[in-house]
């Protein structure tokens, strides 16, 4: 059948953001060593405790690397990574402290414009404050003043280390310790920048906080570090979106996001990830090994992760929730798309420690081309977590017959009152569905967009509106040419 053959002819749309901007970059030599770690810390003029933090992590990483090598448990084929061939620090050369946007390097501004990010007052109208991270160093934080009025801190983590060392010292590494995993150790040793958010007691953050990441310097691994602390009775919604320029060499990205949620507080964390996935033959692309974790430390607290993952050559990512406070709630909503030769092993961990804790997992995987898409999730209910409840739904949608979808649900239930439900489905976009749409005048591309967005509706509806629209387009673009 003709259509079936077409389904197998997978092409990917050319990556739109494949450009590099010509910004003077300060880089340190390739490779990692104790000296490099010290150099990074020195360049960033960090206090003593940070250097200790980094060195401890580096030594742990080195031990892991020498004894066990890189982790291989995920359902991924990872080419060998030469950790000595990576540049661990690159920062745009700094001028003196900037007072207004006019002082921002025009090349940097242009890069943001190409990505559709504006640092100017337009964002104010759309109620988004942007902390833009270009390569590893924060360039400009907007809406500082407005947020500061409410006592909200939203700045780069480097600034936080300088200006709010007590908060950083208290919480950095408290959710994801450097001993957590291989890449967490590496990140803790060499992270260059990231975002820091603190919402004080009783404050509802009046706008969506948003960070755009962009990998820019050639051969530079990115090690972002984000820390969000929501104090008692506070609320914040945080958006993370990424694009990266096209590259032939693979680029390693190992970020950490830590979130602490206190009594009655709520944090929503939304991600749309669209890094360069490699070309249609699987060459190039970003390796995305991320550790994201939130702890619901206080009673009645809530954390909600929503992610739309369409980019990267390899994704290894499990945004997790530790539900420590009684009645705390953890949610994970995910759409992961893989096309061509992309690989994704993603999911979540819900650790129920407190009483009457609730978690929901909705995972929608979409595989096309020759890609491999795995859901890996753990639900653990501790002995004392009376009345814990979990609902998991893991759906897979296949396009063509060369791709794979896998589900690895783990449950570790140690309390007899726990209620844990798991549902899983696998479906295909059929030629019949496409033809039915065609016969009503809908083009194949639009039909796929319609079907995929329908399938992912439950997750997309959790995103903030402006993100949801972008995400819908992204899903369709990611799967263009994958059928018909």
């Amino acid at each position: 059948m003709k259509e079936e053959k077409n389904i197998e002819q997978i092409g990917g749309e050319e990556y739109k953001y494949g450009f590099t901007s010509d910004i003077e970059t300060e880089v340190i030599p390739k490779g990692i060593s104790e000296d490099v770690v010290r150099l990074i810390s020195a360049k960033k003029e960090e206090p003593e405790f940070m250097l200790d933090f980094r060195l401890k992590a580096y030594r742990h990483w080195l031990k892991l690397y020498e004894e066990k090598g890189v982790p291989t448990w995920a359902h991924l084929e990872i080419p060998e990574i030469d950790f000595q061939d990576i540049i661990y620090y690159a920062a745009p050369k700094k001028k003196e402290q900037l007072k207004s946007l006019d002082e921002v390097d025009p090349a940097i501004r242009e890069t943001f414009d190409k990505l559709g990010i504006s640092l100017d007052e337009q964002k104010k109208l759309s109620n988004v404050a942007v902390d833009a991270v270009l390569d590893s160093s924060s360039v400009k934080t907007t809406f500082h003043a407005e947020l500061a009025k409410k006592g909200i801190i939203f700045c780069s983590i480097s600034e936080a280390i300088k200006n709010h060392p007590d908060l950083v010292k208290q919480y950095l590494g408290s959710v994801v310790p450097h001993t957590d995993n291989f890449y967490a150790a590496l990140n803790a040793a060499v992270f260059s920048d990231g975002s820091f958010v603190y919402i004080p007691k009783g404050v509802r953050c009046p706008m969506e906080l948003s960070t755009y990441f962009r990998i820019n310097a050639m051969n530079t691994g990115q090690f972002e570090r984000t820390l969000i602390v929501a104090d008692d009775d506070s609320y914040v919604s945080y958006l993370e979106g990424c694009t990266a320029p096209q590259r032939d060499e693979n680029q390693l990205h190992a970020a950490i996001v830590e979130i602490v949620v206190m009594n009655n507080a709520e944090v929503k964390y939304s991600t749309v990830q669209n890094w360069y996935p490699g070309d249609k033959d699987g060459k190039g692309g970003i390796y995305n090994f991320v550790t994201k974790r939130a702890i619901c430390k206080g009673d009645n607290s809530k954390i909600s992760w929503t992610q739309v993952e369409t980019g990267s050559a390899i994704t290894w990512k499990y945004p997790s929730c530790i539900l420590k406070g009684d009645n705390s709630v953890g949610e994970f909503y995910s759409v992961a798309v893989t096309n061509n030769h992309q690989q994704a092993d993603t999911g979540t961990k819900m650790i129920h420690l407190g009483k009457n804790t609730k978690s929901t997992i909705i995972s929608k995987g979409i595989s096309a081309g020759y890609s491999q898409n795995s859901y890996r999730g753990l639900v653990r209910v501790a002995k004392d977590a009376d009345g814990a409840r979990n609902y998991s739904q893991c759906d897979s949608l296949l396009m063509g017959d060369k791709c794979g979808a896998h589900t690895f649900p783990y449950a570790d239930i140690n309390n007899p009152t726990a209620q844990v439900e798991h549902e899983a489905t696998t479906s295909k976009i059929s030629e019949d569905q496409i033809f039915y749409c065609n016969q009503r005048g809908i083009k194949t591309e639009d039909a796929i967009g319609l079907i995929v967005n329908g399938y992912a509706k439950d997750v997309l509806s959790k995103l903030p509106l402006e993100f949801a629209v972008e995400a819908q387009k992204l899903l369709q673009i990611s799967l263009e040419n994958s059928v018909g």
């Binding site: 569905q433 033809f435 065609n438 016969q439 009503r440 079907i451 967005n453 399938y455």
Partner: protein
């Protein structure tokens, strides 16, 4: 409007249509009847451009254009509508979103601006009333969990929305109870005008009691072996197809 000349088509390498000739003009109703496996549904699928079928020979002109050179969606946008024998379920996609994509796809093809949300919803309300379908259907996912009757009514609702000029009904009467049959047939009849044409593919007389054909064709072994007026329907109902098989041996 539609001219089919010597149409041959295969599926999985097997020849199903073996030289169809048929001409359909504006305002006409044609019934295509014939025993199972004679190629009736294949003919509708080939005209709609289902990629599972391969045309090996012949020519089809639709409004002066080469139909076979057009993509399935362009054929639809040119005014060809197929009411499916087995309407397809599309989970998660609401009928409203589906129809909006269809209507605006057609408008784009015609070089028109898309309908605004309120214009669209107004149109949808009118058409739902016109074909007597209940309100919640448009909030549900396309055909998902619909009963057989609901699916067929939904096809007619889409026909009402899209206002095609060539309406092909592929076994629309199968799986319908008598009330659903009446509603579906009435919908088709109400939508009939001097500008559009209708092709009714069926085994039975009952749908043709409502949608009265101007011409009745008997399709057998991939060819139209007989064309007559509506009286032929009664003969088939009474005598079956055996006499056709005898008259036209393989």
């Amino acid at each position: 409007m539609l001219k089919i000349e010597n149409l041959h088509a295969t599926v999985d390498g097997k020849e199903i249509l073996r030289g169809i000739n048929l001409e359909i003009n504006e305002g006409e109703v044609h019934a295509i009847m014939g025993p199972n496996g004679s190629g009736k549904s294949t003919l509708s699928a080939v005209l709609a451009g289902n990629p599972a079928y391969t045309v090996t020979e012949g020519k089809v002109t639709f409004n002066g254009k080469d139909l076979l050179a057009m993509s399935p969606e362009d054929r639809a946008n040119e005014g060809l509508f197929l009411s499916f024998q087995y309407p397809v379920e599309i989970p998660g996609v609401s009928m409203t979103n589906f129809m909006k994509a269809a209507i605006n796809g057609k408008r784009k093809y015609q070089g028109l601006e898309p309908l605004s949300a309120s214009e669209f919803l107004k149109l949808q309300r009118e058409k739902k009333k016109f074909v007597e379908i209940n309100n919640d259907l448009t909030n549900r996912s396309v055909n998902e969990g619909f009963s057989g009757g609901e699916k067929k009514k939904n096809e007619i609702f889409q026909m009402a929305m899209l206002e095609p000029t060539l309406r092909i009904l592929d076994e629309t009467d199968s799986g319908l109870d008598i009330d659903a049959l009446r509603i579906v047939a009435t919908g088709v009849t109400k939508l009939k005008n001097e500008k559009n044409a209708t092709v009714v593919i069926t085994h039975y007389q009952r749908l043709l009691d409502y949608i009265v054909p101007d011409f009745v064709h008997i399709l057998y072994h991939g060819r139209i072996v007989m064309t007559d007026t509506k009286e032929l329907v009664q003969k088939l109902e009474k005598d079956g197809y055996d006499w056709i098989k005898e008259q036209f041996p393989d």
